[in-house]
Amino acid sequence: MTAARTAGALLAVCVAVLLQATVISRLPLPGGTPSLVLLLVIAIGFSAGTTAGLFAGFVAGATVDLMSDHPLGVAAICLALGGFVAGTLLDNGTRGVARSLLLVVTIAGVVQLLYAALLALLGARGGSVLHGLAGAVGYDALLAPLVLPVVAAVERRLRSVR
């Protein structure tokens, strides 16, 4: 993993966390909120590989944790797993678009379920995450076709930077 790609991933994580906190979470959408940070981590795993997904997920999760009220590490576990699994299951270009999308949405759903379960286990408000889960996964499915190609394109561009 080159320095440029690492910096790019970090920057993308920061931007995603900011956008999630300031814009997306405030949209009064019915049914739930899409998770841009989660989609970004999955997209990084998808295009840059297992290791990139794992570390991007851990950093993004830790940042989310630090900006939230629950104990540090909860989102880090979920997102690190999500990035890792995405990097393992998705092989760039070898699957059809529809199947890739289905996998992305499945991973997103499972990760959010895990997140809700962990929060509930720790006595935080896991119920609220669970409540909007179906809506959130639906919005993720809508958002994924926008996020994935962008991340893939940027990753390809940065790979050539040495």
Binding site: V17, V23, P30, T51, F55, G73, L81, T88
Partner: protein, 287 residues
């Protein structure tokens, strides 16, 4: 499917273990306050900036699903606002009416008059510069021409014409109106003439009568006057020059009633059995 290498699996295990340790430590004793504060101080200003830039856009986007219902809501609120405004205005009017009515009742009680409350529905110096008002009571309410009309403040005028449900009142301010008056206390008699918007004029019977500013006038007997006795007319503001008994003695009278602001009045159906003398007059203002 890319099988993770041994190193990748190790990294995953290490990171997960680290995260679990972090959760445990943080859950036990909130150990990362400094780290949280640091993140806050880095992301806080950025959040402010992003919010300032995209906040309006986000709010606009967020409002789109509610546009139709917002329009309906605005209409409903506007309607409600109009209703409340009208109610408020009506309430103010009702309060004013209630006060006028209570003063009219007080005056009627003091003078032993039987008064029929009525509202002024038309007013103005009509054709021929007559000061007349139209009331919403008429023959059906046993109103007959010649009856005295009062308000809570004092004398308003006299019924001139009666229809079935309305009647016309010549106001005491009408230049053609003459009312027999009596000065409270001294009992001096005179004739009070209307003068339009200007003050009324009192002509005394006795050229040598002693009058002074501040004296108060009530209706009294004068010729064939059909006004009921004892209704307050006004207060003398200025006394004309003493003519030494040659010409008539005159004075200027400020009426108690504001003839341009009449609203609720009363038609005196039956006068008192005995002259109430000065008992209806408002208390004399302290000097």
């Amino acid at each position: 499917m890319r099988r993770p290498t041994r190193r990748q699996r190790l990294a995953l295990a290490a990171l997960l273990a680290l995260a679990v340790v972090l959760v445990t430590v943080d859950y036990q004793g909130r150990a990362f306050g400094g780290l949280r504060a640091g993140t806050e101080s880095v992301f806080g200003p950025l959040q402010h900036g992003v919010s300032a830039v995209v906040g309006p856009v986000g709010r606009f986007l967020g409002g789109i699903p509610h546009l139709a219902s917002s329009g309906r809501r605005i209409d409903a609120l506007r309607q409600q606002n109009d209703d409340l405004r009208r109610q408020l205005a009506e309430q103010a009017l009702d309060t004013a009416r209630a006060e006028q009515l209570s003063r009219l009742t007080l005056l009627a009680g003091l003078g032993q008059y039987r008064v029929l409350p009525a509202a002024v529905i038309g007013f103005g110096p009509g054709p021929g510069f007559e000061w007349v008002a139209t009331l919403d009571v008429g023959a059906r309410d046993r109103v007959v021409p010649g009856q005295t009309v009062v308000s809570g403040d004092g004398l308003v005028g006299r019924v001139k014409q009666v229809g079935a449900t309305t009647c016309t009142v010549v106001l005491a301010a009408d230049p053609g109106s003459s009312v027999g008056g009596r000065i409270a206390g001294s009992g001096q008699l005179g004739l009070v003439t209307g003068n339009g918007t200007a003050a009324m004029r009192l002509t005394l019977l006795d050229p040598n009568a002693r009058v002074s500013a501040g004296d108060r006038l009530v209706t009294g007997p004068y010729g064939a006057s059909t006004y009921v006795a004892g209704v307050p007319i006004g207060e003398i503001t200025e006394v004309g020059a003493d003519t030494g008994g040659v010409g008539p003695r005159t004075a200027t009278v400020r009426p108690y009633v504001a003839f341009t602001r009449l609203d609720l009045v009363g038609v005196v159906l039956t006068g008192p059995r005995t002259d109430p003398r000065d008992s209806v007059l408002p208390p004399k203002p302290p000097r």
